[in-house]
Symmetry: C2
Subunit: 540 residues, 2 copies
């Protein structure tokens, strides 16, 4: 027996309509590089999206075609998010920090027909243009960044096109399972792999983001996604902003910690989202300049684990809650959220912090489990480490045109995350390590993440990354790369070792020669510690 | 081009799994009639649901079969909610306040195979048993209510069956569009009409309920649904409780205002949900007994409009927020939520109350519009009255086996609510009246709802209902039925008229002979003012 409910398509058109109609007076604010702000209402936004849909059609874009964007976080990028998907085409966000090889690979692999690019980023494309013969047009968006004369062929100007287009567009009926967007994940080996989001997955992910125990977004929030819109849908915030009616504040081109602080104060931001590295820089800036952020309540952290010391410092010195998320490009990206539960409210601060250090419990809709190498399910005891496998309506079922993809899925249809984790009795997941980042020494595991967190909690440490080096006797030994916060007062190897010995067993702590001071931890294109580079240094 | 996301079924099994696994330590608490509380964890709950699934199978229930429940709000009813739908059968909640004719009609129309009934409600079924020959079994649940010897044939005992069943059940793969539950809506004319909820609609409705601007449910809430589980899924709270992990407190058989107050205090309830009449009774009780409800933050009100005076009294005297919802059985039921927006926070209390008196903006996922008699769309100006039409993934597309249903839908697929409303520029909907309840006098409309609210705001008025009487000269004239709060100090007709003249035009105010004092406003089976009965009194 079937239900008798409307066959209502879950798609980005519905999100766009709600933004324009119910929250038509709400503003989208973008920081411009001259320090001023661009602002318009969601009603005006919706009209420009309709113009843009007509532009895309004039450029020959058909439903299903991939359209690339190489842009910072700004209102025009938001217009592209909604116009491309709502007309039935596929938004392909290009990561500005990819190598030339990777960039041309993904443009060709996705078969992008047209690419929209910021003036300040045209040089990135110029370098690969010859390798990408199928791109018919480059449409340039003036982001007020540093503009070079660009040699890109078949160049068009965004605003000129929009000005000539009608602001009335008829949108097609969409199949909710059709593709709306795609994003490549760089991975550690081989070519980047494309994740293809459906309208349905985006819609459902948006609902999860808006639950009180998700990000808890409401109309009353002012939200700043520092996380780039070219990275995993900016964690879903562009969609959630329109669906919840919150005020979206976009940081524009090349934001720094100082710029972020200014925007937060100017625009009365309540919630911002980014990787730990940026909040670390923000913290340093706030201290140096003696600033406070009175309106900010929550800093959402994902991409890497937030160090305990960071959570504590923001709590105690700024009354700002660091909210721990964990996700993956393959998960749209929201997987888990690290909130404490009602029965923990009586716990000591340190006990609560133990919980908040975990990546958290699955967002409503996501399911998790841990498995051993043979696929057996492991207990949820908070101790047993196994590989995290996940499923849910916004988890990828494969990679775009990639026959290797099957390795990433279990036989019964769960996605293998590659993360080695524990889950406790209440469903709190904690990452022990990426499976490749766990250090196996003398037959026992050492968590590089735990060791990094421990080092970063030490006074005078700015950053730390721990990787394995091969060792004849022990198989592997940990090497700690440490950045001193104050180069005028550098720390010593023995200080780090002594500090580690308070938490770790003696056999786990790196030897003196394996504590190495560096100027900065190298980062990947999405701001994570790039352990590949560190490992190469060890070899080199 | 299709998305490459998991084909994950949105169904009640996923909600059940999450409750048992992630929130396994959370408790469900039920008030028993002896004043004690039954409590168990969601982990235990899930095991009993599995037992119950085995019981249902032993009783011959097949996927798609309808299974009736005639029960109060308690843990066994919650078990039935999840067991029946998760095994693929269809939960049919029977309203305990229906007439015998209506009850036998819906049991036969739905073709219920088995009915689960509370001991205290068996007499309701005995009266119709002979009219319902297709019901194979009656399974009796001991709700500790007044138990009569029951003559029901083919009687079985719930706990005896459960004790004999295994607590391990394999659940079938479900099509998310298959039926999970049904509920009949009595309407004003003709036979009750059946609404058939799909797994998908329930899942999506649950997500909407959990958004911050929906009910805002989180794990930290303690939620008491006074709204019956036999009425429109208790507004979705049974499902949302398991999915959000909040603590569910169920009031058991025949709760009164005094019982509610006790439960709220005993169990530290934070949010409760019910019709205005019950909160009015609760208010009277709190004042009489000089009680406060320190943990209660929100009383969710639906079913009828909350009088302004009630919202104000709870705000000012108890620091409890009345949250206005509007919905319909055909909408699962959530349609709109009446929260103020950030830019209104600077407004005066009275201005905010003007907004909170409206039924609110559509919940994320629901779309609304207003139309005139010819189907033309009307402007959102807060003034123009038209019929509200709605659509969304949890709105009915028809009624079960009812060819008359097409009248309730527009040609382009929206549901006609029968409510006459305004919508303002920001999407706030306000009900002027049910179309049949609007009073047309001398060619102009009078809103019976506005007039009722005005009268109920007058000191000394307990309740008031306004209906139209036919009038030779004016077509219709309003008649106000008024209940004095203190029968020792009754109000006069002129007091009511003088009070109304402060707000209404002279021609709108009922004449002296049209203000009538009564002891109580008659209510429908779901607690709404029964204007049908009042109109009959005018005729009689």
């Amino acid at each position: 027996m079937q239900g008798q409910m409307m066959d209502f398509s879950l798609d980005t058109q519905a999100i766009l309509r709600r933004g324009g109609q119910i929250f038509g007076n709400q503003e989208v604010v973008t920081r411009l590089t001259d320090g001023s702000y661009h602002r318009y209402t969601l009603r005006e936004f919706e009209r420009r999206v309709h113009r843009l849909i007509n532009v895309l059609r004039d450029l020959g874009i058909q439903p299903g075609d991939r359209v690339g964007t190489l842009c910072w976080n700004h209102y025009r990028h938001l217009e592209l998010y909604f116009a491309i998907s709502s007309m039935g085409a596929v938004l392909h966000t290009l990561n500005i920090r990819l190598s030339e090889e990777q960039l041309s690979y993904i443009i060709n692999h996705a078969d992008d027909q047209v690419i929209f690019v910021d003036t300040s980023l045209t040089s990135v494309l110029e370098a690969v243009e010859d390798e990408c013969p199928n791109v018919r047009n480059y449409v340039v968006l003036d982001d007020q960044g540093e503009t070079a004369e660009t040699s890109l062929s078949n160049q068009l100007d965004y605003e000129t096109l929009l000005a000539a287009a009608s602001d009335q567009a008829t949108l097609p009926d969409l199949d909710e399972n059709s593709a709306a967007a795609m994003c490549y994940t760089s991975g550690t080996t081989g070519n980047p792999k494309g994740v293809v989001y459906s309208h349905r997955s985006i819609y459902l992910h948006t609902m999860a983001v808006m639950t009180t125990d998700g990000y808890g977004l409401s109309q009353r929030e002012v939200v700043l996604p520092f996380v780039p819109m070219f990275h995993a849908n900016a964690w879903g915030l562009p969609y959630a902003a329109l669906f919840s009616g919150c005020r979206l504040v976009l940081p524009g081109a090349q934001p720094t910690a100082a710029i972020l602080a200014k925007i937060m104060i100017d625009q009365k931001v309540t919630t911002a989202a980014g990787v730990p590295a940026i909040w670390n820089m923000l913290y340093q800036h706030l201290k140096q300049e003696n600033l406070s952020l009175d309106t900010v309540e929550t800093l959402i952290v994902g991409g890497s684990a937030a160090p305990r010391a960071m959570i504590e410092k923001f709590d105690k010195e700024f009354n700002i809650t660091i909210l721990h998320l964990w996700g993956m490009t393959e998960m749209s990206p929201l997987g888990t959220v690290g909130r404490i539960r009602s029965h923990m409210e009586d716990w000591s601060y340190d006990e609560q912090l133990d919980i908040r250090m975990k990546q958290g419990v699955p967002a409503a809709g996501v399911e998790i489990r841990i498995q051993d190498d043979n696929g057996n399910l492991l207990p949820w005891d908070g101790k047993t480490i196994g590989e995290l496998t996940v499923r849910g309506p916004w988890v990828a079922s494969g990679y775009y045109n990639n026959p290797e993809a099957s390795k990433s899925f279990t036989e019964d249809g769960w996605f293998r995350t590659g993360d080695m984790v524990t889950i406790n009795e209440e469903g709190y997941m904690q990452i022990a390590d990426r499976s490749k980042d766990l250090i196996k020494s003398g037959g026992e595991w050492i968590s590089s993440v735990d060791m990094e967190n421990c080092i970063m909690a030490y006074n005078g440490v700015a950053e730390a990354a721990v990787v394995a080096r091969p060792d004849d006797k022990w198989d592997e030994r940990p090497v700690a790369f440490v950045v001193s916060a104050d180069s005028a007062n550098p720390l010593t190897e023995e200080q780090i070792r002594t500090h580690l010995l308070e938490t770790f067993a003696k056999w786990q702590v790196p030897g003196v020669e394996d504590v190495r001071f560096i100027d900065v931890v190298p980062k990947t294109s999405v701001g994570k510690f790039d352990k590949k580079v560190l490992r190469q240094r060890l070899e080199g």
